[in-house]
Symmetry: C2
Subunit: 199 residues, 2 copies
């Protein structure tokens, strides 16, 4: 079936959304046009504002348009705990478990084959953050994948000379999975069962 | 978990999309911000252009920013068949079956309790379209719901004095369902099994 050009362009553009295929994009486009044009315009404005305005928190590196994200700006959080994750979606996943310490968000994981070394994923900034804080423990919550494990071990080795406790979330999380897809209960279990990292 | 204001607004705005709840909206927002900002901006532009620019085809009343939609503008389609549906998503569903006649798109179905009578749903425009065309048959493909059936019967009665064949899609389609959700095979079957409407 052929749609008019503006509708076709909207359907194509909607397919950048994760999990949205051709058929879903068609339903979304036609339903917005039929039933909620003001909602569609609000979405356009929110997209533009976010894509152009959102940067990274200067302290934890998560997505935020403010200098300090809401987590970093909150004075009631536990300053003795730092949880290191691979991306902003993981902050959300860990937060769901009830964790109320601080975060640091890497840009993914070490991937030598793709040329992604420590600098590319923000390890120097992580070290500076740990230097500036008073953390009793650093929890490495990178993904339970080969690359995530390697990244956790790399960080643990860097921190070994210090008196800080370095722990890894327990292997309650399924190996080979993505942290952001793990259900909250499993992840809470994995957090609770964390152990000092063995080098 | 608290997101910064621009991210929170984007998550809220994404929830107008059909089938998108809070968790999916969060994933969509963060994933776009992390991985595809230019795609997000393209989506914003496509949304604005479509919401502001798309009107209705002057002939079949489907969504289109052009005077004539691609179906109406196509000279190779069968001018002896007119398929009447409740909305643009149904055009898409019927088109999938291989139907290549013409369409007319009502604004939903008759709903006296909501004050939606023949004028509100475009029956006068349908009659004018039939008057202006040379249709041998009008296929009533309104939804197989109580309201869709009533709308089909109303139109059939209006057309009864004419020599035109008036048919209803066969009840291969499940009663109480929405046409746009029916799989293509079932709908093709229902179209093929259509019968003259009994008043
Ligand atoms: Zn922060
Ligand atoms: Zn048309």
């Amino acid at each position: 079936m052929s749609f008019s050009p503006l509708i076709r362009q909207l359907i194509d553009a909607l397919r950048i959304l994760p999990g949205v295929g051709q058929k879903t994009a068609q339903r979304m486009a036609l339903q917005m046009l039929e039933r909620d044009r003001s909602g569609g315009l609000r979405l356009a404005q929110a997209l533009t504002a976010a894509m152009e305005g959102v940067g990274h928190c200067k302290q934890c590196r998560t997505l935020s348009e403010e200098e300090l994200c809401p987590q970093c700006a909150d004075p009631r959080r536990d300053d003795s705990l730092l949880c290191v994750v691979e991306g902003p979606l993981d902050v959300f996943a860990v937060e769901q478990t009830g964790y109320r310490g601080r975060f640091f968000v890497l840009k993914g994981h070490l991937s030598p084959l793709d040329g992604l070394g420590p600098e590319a994923i923000g390890i120097p900034e992580l070290m500076a953050r740990i230097e500036a804080g008073q953390f009793a423990e650093v929890i490495l919550a990178t993904n339970p994948t080969v690359e995530g494990e390697a990244t956790a071990h790399y960080i643990a080795q860097l921190l070994a000379p210090r008196t800080i406790i370095v722990s890894r979330i327990a292997h309650g999380v399924p190996l080979g999975g993505e942290l952001e897809l793990v259900d909250g209960g499993t992840l809470a279990h994995a957090l609770a069962g964390r152990r000092p990292i063995g080098l």
